[in-house]
């Protein structure tokens, strides 16, 4: 594991019965950088994500995470501890907000662990001690900051389920950021967004990287997002890494072009250029 790496996945294998979803995969994600994971549908990208964030226990392999708070072996941690202790946050391919709670409440739930400590594990909070009130105010301020960042301050008190699709996507990112993560894992954040929304997403992610120093791991199909903001790209096909490098290197890699969209090279190049 390189000193600059925040995440190092080594020889990760995940089997479901007879199906090998991820086969002996190794890659790293550099601290403070945006690392992308791309590949055709069914390449095993989301499986890798689920292994990193603890929703699956990998069949074999190690996942190391290291940042200023310490070093962890993620495959040994429970899913909620990965977020609570190791500070890895994630979003979902199919949005998983709390639809019946307001946008603000969604961001408050994300600060659960901080607020739990402040409320003396509920007992002090029950009697409304001043220190808890101060902590709650700080939590609301953090939520307000992130709502402002994603341009949803106006809709703070609307139910999350009532927001338009693109807003829900951004709200999910804001919710993940409210856990104050060191590594943010985004599973297809641009899916279903139009060109303008994708551009806004790029800006948001670059801002997160620049202003908060949060490292980002990204799964994405939208090449206009991947090629423009990624510092490093890993390409997966059938659970195996077939290439990695800078966006320019990936764009020029014939193996990627061939594998990524089949044999039709013309079309593949067009996609890689981000023209579709």
């Amino acid at each position: 594991m390189n000193i600059n790496d925040i995440l190092s996945v080594e020889n990760l294998t995940m089997r479901f019965g007879g199906i090998v979803a991820v086969n002996d995969l190794s890659f790293t994600a550099e601290r403070g950088k945006i690392t992308a994971l791309i590949g055709p549908n069914g390449a095993g990208k989301t499986t890798v994500f689920n292994c990193i964030t603890g929703f699956y226990k990998p069949t074999s392999g190690t996942i190391k995470l290291r940042h200023s708070d310490g070093e962890w072996r993620l495959e040994r941690l429970n899913d909620f501890r990965i977020s609570k202790i190791a500070k890895v946050a994630r979003t979902f391919q199919n949005i998983r907000l709390f639809p019946g709670m307001t946008a603000l409440e969604n961001l408050m739930v994300a600060q659960h662990n901080t607020l739990m400590r402040a409320s003396g594990f509920t007992l002090l909070g029950l009697f409304g001690v001043p220190s808890y009130r101060a902590a709650e105010k700080a939590a609301i301020d953090l939520a307000r900051y992130w709502l402002d960042q994603i341009g949803l301050l106006e809709r703070a008190d609307d139910a999350a389920g009532n927001l338009p699709y693109g807003d829900q996507r951004r709200l999910e990112i804001a919710r993940a950021m409210c856990t104050e993560p060191a590594l943010l894992c985004l599973d297809e954040p641009a899916a279903g967004l139009n060109a303008r929304e994708s551009a806004a997403l790029n800006e948001l992610l670059l801002k997160i990287r620049a202003e908060h120093g949060t490292s980002i791991l990204l799964i994405e199909h939208d090449m206009s997002v991947v090629m423009q903001i990624s510092d490093h790209i890993n390409v997966l096909d059938y659970g195996v890494k077939i290439a990695d490098g800078t966006p320019q290197q990936i764009r020029d890699n014939p193996k990627v072009i061939a594998a990524y969209l089949g044999a039709d090279e013309e079309e593949a190049i067009a996609v890689m250029e981000g023209e579709t």
Binding site: F98, G100, A159
Partner: protein, 440 residues
């Protein structure tokens, strides 16, 4: 149901063909069901042989009733519309509604406080009031588990029983006073809540419901069979009555009446019990309202909305579920201790599945998660049931029909919308369509 509702939404006005089709299907089902039950009457003849005759007239009448009823039901549904349809209400009426809405809670509370004053001489009303308040408290307790955390619990009566037996056994065996036993009963019930919580952590939905149902039965069966401790089916009698912080509510020297220098009346105790259960219920309400605004309460509601997302945010769903079970159980235990001291006698018969079902019905009818809704539902379920007493054997029928109509009119309960726990600018209510019911 959902398909019908959406159809009703898109179609403007009643769709005659659809309604007729539905009515015909209902009538056909009724025909099949009733053809043997009503169409043919069998009886043992004078010397034991089977005699039978047909009653096609009655059968036709029943099928016609179902056919007509189905049409009426559909028309009613169109008339009322689904809950979320926007009905044009003049602004002046809206103002009246919103004022009535805001005034309802204080008005109810003041009325409840005054009940023993107004109905001092009417023992029946006071007893009914105590009963309603007991169920309000149970409903509020179960609301934490079912309404907030979205965990379907069909065995809530178990905690009620644990509370009742804790008080009865501690008071009769060790002579502990009610005020010492009350917290102990709550703690013991909460302990049993955690005990139930552990094995069912991984279960969801129907499976959770079945295991909690079984848990309720296990507690009841243990109480019946552990004769040396609980007295088995004979129950426990001679449970001490509560004292007013040490002052007994009895005639003679040292009693409350004696000390105050007034004439003794058994109503004093009833009034005291009324205020006692009112205080306990309000405590439950206060704690629940506070908890909802604390991180633990938000985590419960988030758990109901999406458990996977909760885990991704670093929330320990195990402890969150256990605290929900324990908190709900604790309030059940308090109510149980009150029940024991009020009755003076408890037996396993008081803790059957019927009680669990009744409390769950109150929570569902009230609108899951709504404190006011649960209180209104308890009043309707317990008080309303008493109202129909004059109808004798048709009581259940009328009551059941009323329930069905109410659920058609308000499928998400009396108060279906959700109030946010925190807001920046506007305190808007959230439509019940968005709020999840939980998967167990």
């Amino acid at each position: 149901m959902a398909a019908n509702a959406s159809q009703a939404k898109t179609a403007r006005g009643p769709d005659a063909a659809f309604i007729l089709k539905k009515a015909v299907i209902s009538a056909l089902v009724a025909l099949v069901l009733f053809s043997l039950m009503i169409g043919i009457r069998t009886e043992a003849g004078s010397d034991g042989q089977l005699t039978w005759w047909t009653r096609f007239g009655d059968l036709a009448a029943m099928v016609a009733v179902v056919f007509g009823g189905s049409i009426v039901m559909e028309l009613l549904r169109h008339w009322w519309g689904p809950v979320d349809t926007v009905r044009v209400v003049p602004p002046s009426a809206q103002k009246v509604f919103s004022f009535a809405g805001r005034a309802l809670v204080p008005a109810l509370l003041i009325f409840t406080f005054l009940v023993p004053v107004i109905f001092y001489d009417e023992r029946y009303i006071l007893d009914l009031g105590i009963l309603v308040l007991t169920y309000v408290m149970l409903g509020w307790g179960l609301n934490v588990v079912v309404g907030l955390a979205g965990l379907l619990d069909l065995g809530y009566v178990a905690f009620y029983a644990v509370g009742a037996y804790s008080y009865a056994l501690l008071a009769t065996n060790f002579g502990l006073s009610f005020w010492i036993c009350l917290p102990l009963a709550g703690i013991l019930a909460a302990f049993f809540g955690v005990l139930l919580g552990f094995p069912v952590l991984r279960l969801r939905g129907d499976y959770l419901a079945i295991v909690t149902l079984a848990f309720g039965e296990i507690i009841r069966l243990v109480i019946i069979n552990w004769q040396t401790l609980t007295g088995g089916p004979n129950g426990i009698s001679g449970i001490p009555r509560p004292t007013m912080f040490g002052i007994p509510l009895t005639p003679g020297d040292g009693g409350l009446a004696d000390r105050l220098g007034i004439e003794f009346s058994p109503t004093h105790r009833i009034v005291f019990l009324f205020y006692l259960i009112l205080a306990l219920a309000l405590l439950t309400n206060w704690v629940t309202i506070r908890l909802r605004r604390l991180p633990i309460g938000r985590a419960w509601e988030a758990l109901r909305e999406d458990e996977v997302a909760c885990r991704a945010l670093g929330i320990n769903t195990t402890t969150t579920k256990l605290t929900a079970f324990a908190t709900g159980a604790m309030f059940g235990g308090f109510a149980g201790a009150f029940f024991a001291t009020r009755q003076g006698f408890i037996s396993p018969e008081s803790f059957t599945f019927h009680e669990s079902a009744l409390v769950l019905a109150i929570v569902v009818l009230g609108g899951m998660g709504s404190q006011l809704g649960v209180a209104l539902a308890a009043l309707a379920m317990i008080g309303g049931f008493e109202l129909f007493r004059g109808l004798e054997q048709f009581r259940m029928l009328v009551f059941g029909g009323a329930m069905v109509l109410l659920m058609i009119w308000r499928p998400r309960g009396l108060i279906g919308h959700r109030a946010p726990t925190v807001f920046l600018e506007r305190n808007t209510v959230i439509s019940s369509d968005l709020v999840k019911e939980g998967h167990g």
